[in-house]
Symmetry: C2
Subunit: 349 residues, 2 copies
Amino acid sequence: MSKTTLVSLAESLGVSRQTVSNVINAPHRVKPETRMRVQHAIVESGYRPSAAARQLRTRRSMNFGIRMMPVVDGINGSILDRFLHALTEAAQEEGYRVTLFCADTDAGEIRQYEELLKVADLDGFVLTGTHHGDHRTAWLLEHGIPFAAFGRPWSSIEDPFGSLHPWVDVDGGAGTEQATRTLIEQGHTAVGFLGWPGGSGAGDDRRAGWARAMRAAKLPTDSLDIQADDGVPAGAQGAEQLASKGATAVVCASDSLALGALAKLRQLHPEQASPALIGFDDTPVAAAVGLSSVSQPTEDAARHIVAVLAHQLAGSSSPHGDEEPAPERHLLLPPTLIQRTPYSFSSST
Amino acid sequence: MSKTTLVSLAESLGVSRQTVSNVINAPHRVKPETRMRVQHAIVESGYRPSAAARQLRTRRSMNFGIRMMPVVDGINGSILDRFLHALTEAAQEEGYRVTLFCADTDAGEIRQYEELLKVADLDGFVLTGTHHGDHRTAWLLEHGIPFAAFGRPWSSIEDPFGSLHPWVDVDGGAGTEQATRTLIEQGHTAVGFLGWPGGSGAGDDRRAGWARAMRAAKLPTDSLDIQADDGVPAGAQGAEQLASKGATAVVCASDSLALGALAKLRQLHPEQASPALIGFDDTPVAAAVGLSSVSQPTEDAARHIVAVLAHQLAGSSSPHGDEEPAPERHLLLPPTLIQRTPYSFSSST
DNA sequence: TTACAGAATATGAACGTTCAAATAGTGTTG
DNA sequence: CAACACTATTTGAACGTTCATATTCTGTAA
């Protein structure tokens, strides 16, 4: 039971290796009858073409890379898990594999690109955590390396849809806007926003969504906008400030902040079991404590990223008539508001 | 600036390809003078050997696979992030790459093994989530595929150190034991255990640690042992039961359970800002809410797994005198108790 | 029947590396 | 100085594909 190869399989069938190869890569070139016969033998023998040999010849590895960011907070980073899983799954379905790599900085990431392109012949990359002044996209574009980003090109945010590279992102602003609107509809007139200091792209976007909803309802936003570094303690502190300014409801830029706010609001208003509070990212923690949160369609985003990347890769090798319709190169997905009632831990449970 | 290859580099130096190859793979065979010259040229040109060509010839890909488990809870799963990051980093340092793959079931995982071995020529695998009646290890052993597991072989738990395959695990029992002891030293005599239903390997192990500490202190364990499915609500419920049985402190099998317990205990004893409570896994949530927790040395585990796997892979190709001392094939790492004071969210913050 | 076009299949070469074996170089020794 | 034992370097072949081209087959028209 030695290894099946193109040649050994061809010999045992009395055809040439190229015919077997064609059955796999260009079935239309083979007479239906032979094709069937070969296909049957392929299944029978469990033959799989060697990626290495194929890669050596075609210079394509059917493999793309994604960087593991250094673990920071983890509470928000945990959505990466879902993303990575969905990405791997989608890639697998399209016949691609996902290779991980580490880098501490963007510069380090670029160095890894060079390395991986030469050594492993990666076909492309998936970028996450795009930000202002991101050098990675420029480098990749310049070198003509296929890639797709999870995150808008914040550097040229005036016209993200005119961007040269494909990206997929979640419309955070629409999420906070909806969250705010929901709270307003529930009767709140002083909805505070608890977000990060300005300058962080995603953070500003989420803040803008809140402001839009407030303006649309002709409600004042003055002094209801708190800037706090991400984290539970800062969330508690911010919630306290907002409460003192008269806010009766709070929209947060992250679940970490919301978690702190939840604890603080409960402390301030013990009579009120379910504070009017909405977090962001729908992390496991939010689900765990029953916190309403804006949920990003991570799976959809991952799937689309793979689609865009795969289309780009396939397109470059066979520039003839398109079979598949080209997936959108720039896609802004709407998030979903997950409404929950915080667990009251009442004795009746 | 066309691609540098072994041949092009050799030509420009006036040596043969094999000499350059030797400088890379067996430097001792090359005269120091030539070696220097070649090494310099390699750096100069930024030459990197093609993984595909190498793999085709040597049948080794310097690549191992790890499965992305379906996302379940997430609150505990988030330690996977840290593990994966550390694994990738360690692998990278040893010259290996990490390929992800998905499977819903163990059987699916085995199917992927077959596929990946044939197609991508993966050199080995890292297993996570070992459990009773795990078929994966048997399959891999049977087929002679190198692998290392994160998790003891629970199926043959009588003699884990006699196991045929290498594994690394964290001594959960030692963790809960230490946690319990710490609480006892603080004066508690009725320390409850809030864990999962029996039969889950890791869960039983953690329960046993608690029981050991209690027995050692000659304290009764009757009715202080609660079995609950993982999750925040179940944690709250369990904590309430324990409180009604007179427990003044609680050790939990997971942070999810502890999080629920924390909320419940605060509700039951509002005067007591910091309930005597210890969780497990030191997840980001625990850090966020200031919950004491047993921390697994995930990074060390990952690093050791890579070491064992790399040693196994290197060993099989060069069975001569060992340079590196062989890393332990079976390793039980002690966890660390991280003590924290739950955030009180007091106005003074 | 012959010639010819088009479909179907087969053959040689190449991708970039390492292995195995051959050749050239360098002292050492009788 | 010839024979030898090493060390250092080179050469041919092979890994398993796909590309480009060549060959064979089949049917149709002259």
